[in-house]
Subunit: 762 residues, 2 copies
């Protein structure tokens, strides 16, 4: 049994010793370097561009502008291809643009033999613009007379939503109390340690090889094909180890350009490596949302109605925008399935950097608003925050009010109960004076979340696994699911070992995806991989085990159905203590007997048509220094129902990383836009407050294990969810401490100062 | 239909434009370089070695000697692992040796940051030897008092042979005429353009990655494991394009050392690249043979008895030696299956460079002797050379006198008939004066060969193929069979296209083998690949086609058995003109429908348990300038029965390359050993006469196509055979021209001078 054990990460030693190779660790003789020329305005068009001086510089190999790129538009969002044309992503990108839509938009690219020549050349390109007023907020872009940011397309990119239960206005009318609040979330950037980096080359004139720091190699392959109008069979994407992605590498940012450049330059290898300053504007950010929530609540504590209206600013390009707002709203329904609910979202272009996928894909924005409102509702009727939630949240047996399908496993009640105990909620409440005074005050907060295990039924969910029995009785496993730091390779090794019947040390996971040969999988996003891959690995391992036992049958005459494979030994099914053959003997015979057998492999491509929501909550105690406008987290617990926990240490790592990002978004991070120029003030890690280990408290972590039947190993999503509930929990705790209700993220000193001053605290 | 078409090589453009990447084209940051310290004597032991000065040099990273390497011996021959311990290869190697067995033996290795430091360090290692008299010939090594070259093991490495038909002495007694001649073949080196090159590195501390110019990646993986006592699952061998091998890369020469070095050096990448001078002694050469043949012939032209006694000099290490002599003898039986025959071979160690596998694996040596003797027998009874052969060679319906199995296809009679016509044998014979005079004379020669398609039943024959349907209706094919310049990838593409029903341009062959993920195959040798791989590709393509049609069934409701796949279209089986669905529609649906389907792939690992011999002959007309001792080839034709010719242009390439190597061995090549010191005189391409395009005549090539039923596409061996028959044909032609019977190769001016002088011609 390896499932449930804290097996050491298969890549632990490689990574801590620096042996693991990332995209930028690879080098090819003759490699060229490329860098974008970025616009110095946020909105307008280029009226003149002169690259002659740049091209003449020694070391400069080529300069391409918007005039040189393919004229057809493509979409960059890392979604699986949709057979339904209505589900296609928004095709609004060119490789380079004449029409500038954000400060830093890509209008030209220089290729040079070295970075010095590159930088010099960029300075030698003369550009003139016709500038328009930038619209940095969704509201500006929605103004009736607003200029179209994408000519021919409205600035409203998409509308989405749903309504369940009683008609929302009726439900609100029926409620004892109705509350309305507008919330706002800020621009956040992923700040993965490894910046975006990609290189491409050709070994002939038919095939392009792209090595990239991507979460989605198979999707990147398709999108490069779409961008360059090349069949995807001629494109090969290789994904080495990657230093974080958090959704920002679930977008196809550099791959099409790298492929374009090598195509133009006779197949020479060309690398693009974004500097931090470029990456923070030129890749993707988290969508800032304005969300108005109306709640109807009964005096008995029933959350009767919830009306959510979200306005999402997707920035200069659609990327994931149209789907983020829709996906985010669905999570509320699973949290409060008995509440009448309406969700409506609009996604809008604006002249800020493009938003895209980021950990939890809109849920942190929407559930921040929802959970703030839940807190308000509880307070409104004078009910304990936890008790109010316990009364209204999903329970085992609830059905999805939209699809009318039952939710399978749900341990949210147990999560809330456990979290309340961990933080000693009742005791602390009882011990605390009713009204706090003085400059430093303490508060408790709680917030809940639900999330999904993948994207079905909105998108395709497919995973592939191939297992090869080696001569030494070890196995190699290829999966399309990508290791992006989360520990995917390790749980794949555990799953394989568990089902096949070998020690986990005997499982070698092929970490690098190579779209030419790696089984198809859409990649790392939507907390989908351990869930959907489990179904493929389980089946492939069963198939391989079956082949092994059949071969043992052919060697021994003992029928396969009387054999089993346990701990690397073929044993009698009825008496596992009796070894019939060591697995290695079977392997050697299968490979090397001259007549019977063959190399034993199994490959499964499996579509998962279920989607088990996971649940959880955050409990937090904060200390608020009112004069300093500073929030200090004294205790914080994230409690998760993610089904069976495959590897407790890895799971804790996910929770701690996610909760830390949540804390960062709650208290620190804020990518700031000059509303006049559209310029970003702090696209660097000096000015953008990205917390370090010194800023993050010890994070408590607990699990309520349910056994999810639709998953190969009982597991549900865990990758993204830990980020969701810390911000509202912290906001609720600050309210509890100070009596000040903050409705905008982050709770930075800058914002708290405004709120505390408004409240008369300072 | 693509089988039988001269489809352009899939790697043609990559190779002619220099885009194709070979092992030495790859570079890794921090890569170190290694070079062997080679002995300066041919036989003895090192009594003192001092590496201190070398180690102290700047840039030198490490020096290892025979004292530092694992103490257990391993075998290097590139054979599949044998379950039968009696079939194991000879384990007589250490990574470095104290006991020196040839001039250039490997006693230490230096690792440095650059080649300058490397060369300097090698000069700074002080070595003292206790020298023994070298034994450079097999006869010396077999002397009763000869020192054991491998202490504890006799110098006689192996004996092998067979006897069929009447007891040989009786058969010779019965013959009308008995002839006896001793023949000798020289030392030849492969001289592939790309020298041996390998590098190894580690991404962690568990797995070693080896990139190597090898014909046999999967075997190399196993042998590295044996050499270093590491399970093969922890070893990964990657084979990029390779610049020729000819059997010399069917040996595991550099891989174990590169792996050892990276293991010792904390996983740093270490490259070993042999210079030509090293490669010509430190890799492998062709075994020189001394062969005594006795023939018994009847006046009516029946070849009644053939007694072959072969003495093979395998040099310092066994490598393939024990199997080369045995394998070579079997080919004679298939040529003359109705003749009483005895074959006996001894393989002997001597103090010369190790022999190994080389194109046609001993057959050129043994069949040179046999065909020279055939010519003598024909002349003895006054019969036309062609007529004598036609009377005695294998005919359709003959059975193997040893295994009593029938030979399947045989077109040798047709080959001889066609060759005779091509060279206008009868007309030229008739036109020529009975006795030639003058310094320049002309002669005609003929010689036959048979060869095998693989190694079964002596060794395992296994091939693997995996085919992946891409979204764009192209496919990727992975095979374990290696492209080594012969065109394997191209015929794999043709086979796949043919059986699957797509255009050959839609087939992408993954050329690089990577033992972690590539289907198992033992590699390129024994002219096996197109034959045994055909059986795996055929089955995999059928399986994939079946899955495609089943998916089309699920889309359309038309049962799969009423569908077919032709030219990339799913059609009605009864009416191929009616397209039901384009393949791409099926592919997209299989990938992207949210419920049905999945990525469609098929993988087959298949053991071939047949072995179809191929046949052929060479006809040649030479002009001999007697005073200059110079042979000029006026016309030469190789005619082959290799079953169905998969790709005529590629097949012609194989024939022209092989025949050119045969001509080279017949007239030019001769690696010369100083009998006193064991030193090699000409281990470089200035002193070793390797012919260039200026030395090689136009080579005529023709095929007699049989349809071999045991092969996926009717094809039989073709890679090695073209080298076999040119030397005896040329020797027979020189005899025809001059009346001088030369029994030793090469027919170089140096050797011809001796013969012509002895014959009184000069």
């Amino acid at each position: 049994m390896t499932i449930g054990k804290s097996v050491r990460r298969v890549d632990a030693i490689a990574k801590v010793t620096g042996k693991a190779r990332y995209t930028d660790d690879f080098f090819m003789p003759g490699m060229l370097h490329a860098k974008y020329l970025r616009s110095t305005i946020a909105h307008g068009v280029v009226t003149r561009i002169d690259t002659d001086r740049a091209k003449a510089l020694p070391g400069v190999v080529a300069v391409f502008t918007f005039e040189d790129v393919p004229p057809h538009k493509f979409a960059t969002a890392g979604h699986p291809y949709a057979l339904d044309p209505d589900h296609k992503d928004v095709e609004d990108r060119l490789l380079l643009t004449r029409h500038v839509r954000y400060w830093g938009d890509e209008i030209a690219v220089v290729v040079a033999e070295n970075n010095l020549a590159l930088e010099k050349a960029l300075q030698c390109i003369d550009v003139e613009y016709e500038a328009y007023d930038p619209m940095t907020t969704a509201k500006e872009a929605l103004a009736p007379d607003a200029r179209q940011i994408h000519a021919g397309a409205p600035n409203l990119v998409a509308e989405s939503g749903y309504a369940v239960g009683t008609r929302i206005d009726d439900a609100l009318d029926e409620a004892d109390e109705v509350l309305t609040t507008e919330y706002r979330t800020q621009l956040v950037q992923h700040c993965h340690i490894e910046n975006h980096v990609t290189y491409a080359y050709m070994d002939d004139f038919d095939h392009i090889v792209i090595v990239s720091s991507t979460q989605i190699p198979h999707i990147a392959r398709r999108i490069v094909g779409e961008a360059l109008d090349i069949p995807c069979g001629r494109i090969r994407v290789i994904k080495p180890y990657i230093g974080g992605g958090f959704g920002n590498k679930q977008d196809v940012v550099l791959e099409p350009m790298a492929a374009f450049l090598t195509l133009k330059l006779d197949g020479r290898p060309v690398k693009i490596h974004l500097a931090r300053e470029e990456g923070m504007i030129g890749t993707r950010i988290r969508h800032p949302f304005d969300i108005r929530v109306r709640a109807g609540v009964m005096k008995d504590g029933t959350l009767h109605a919830l009306d959510i209206d979200a306005l999402s600013n997707t920035g200069a390009y659609a990327s994931h925008g149209h789907s983020v707002a829709g996906a985010a709203g669905a999570k509320t329904r699973a949290l409060y399935p008995r509440t009448a609910m309406r969700y409506h979202a609009r996604t809008v272009y604006a002249n800020i950097p493009a938003s895209g996928a980021m950990r939890a894909y809109g849920a942190p924005q929407v559930l921040f608003a929802v959970d703030c409102m839940i807190e308000e509702a509880a307070r409104k009727i004078g009910m304990d925050s936890v008790a109010f939630r316990l009364k209204n949240i999903i329970r085992q047996g609830d059905i999805d009010p939209l699809t009318h399908k039952p939710y399978s496993t749900c341990g949210l009640t147990e999560c809330l109960t456990k979290g309340r105990e961990l933080i000693q909620w009742d005791q602390k409440r009882a011990d605390r004076p009713r009204e706090q005074t003085g400059p430093v005050r303490r508060g408790l907060g709680v917030a809940c979340f639900s999330y999904a295990s993948g994207t079905y039924p909105v998108c395709l969910e497919i995973a592939g696994a191939r297992i090869i029995l080696n001569q030494d009785a070890s196995v190699h496993v290829q999966v399309g699911a990508t290791e992006i730091g989360q520990g995917m390779d390790t749980v794949v090794a555990q799953m394989t070992a568990e089902t096949l019947g070998v020690a986990v040390e005997q499982v070698h996971v092929v970490s690098t995806q190579d779209t030419d040969v790696t089984p198809f999988d859409t990649g790392a996003y939507a907390s989908r991989q351990a869930y959907v891959t489990s179904n493929a690995v389980f089946r492939a391992a069963i198939e391989l085990k079956d082949k092994i036992l059949k071969h043992a049958d052919s060697m021994t005459g003992i029928t396969a159905d009387r054999l089993d494979l346990i701990d690397g030994r073929v044993v009698y099914a009825v008496d596992a203590g009796h070894t019939v053959l060591p697995l290695q003997a079977v392997a050697l015979d299968a490979y090397y007997d001259k007549v019977r057998g063959g190399q034993l492999t199994a490959e499964v491509s499996y579509k998962t048509t279920t989607n088990a929501p996971c649940f959880g909550c955050t409990f937090v105690e904060v200390k608020v220094d009112i004069p300093l406008c500073q929030v200090t987290i004294k205790e914080i617990y994230n409690v998760h129902d993610s089904g069976v926990i495959l590897n407790p240490v890895l799971a804790q790592g996910q929770v701690q990383g996610g909760a830390a990002m949540g804390i960062a978004a709650a208290l620190y991070e804020d990518l700031q836009v000059d509303p006049d120029s559209g310029r970003i003030y702090n696209n660097n890690l000096l000015d953008y407050k990205f917390p370090t280990i010194m800023d993050i408290p010890d994070i408590g972590c607990a699990f309520v294990e349910t056994v999810e039947p639709s998953s190969g190993y009982g597991n549900k999503a865990l990758g993204e969810p830990p980020i969701i509930s810390p911000p509202p929990a912290i906001r609720n705790a600050v309210w509890d401490a100070t009596g000040v209700k903050v409705d905008e993220l982050p709770l930075s000193p800058h914002n708290l100062f405004k709120c505390f001053r408004r409240a008369g605290l300072i």
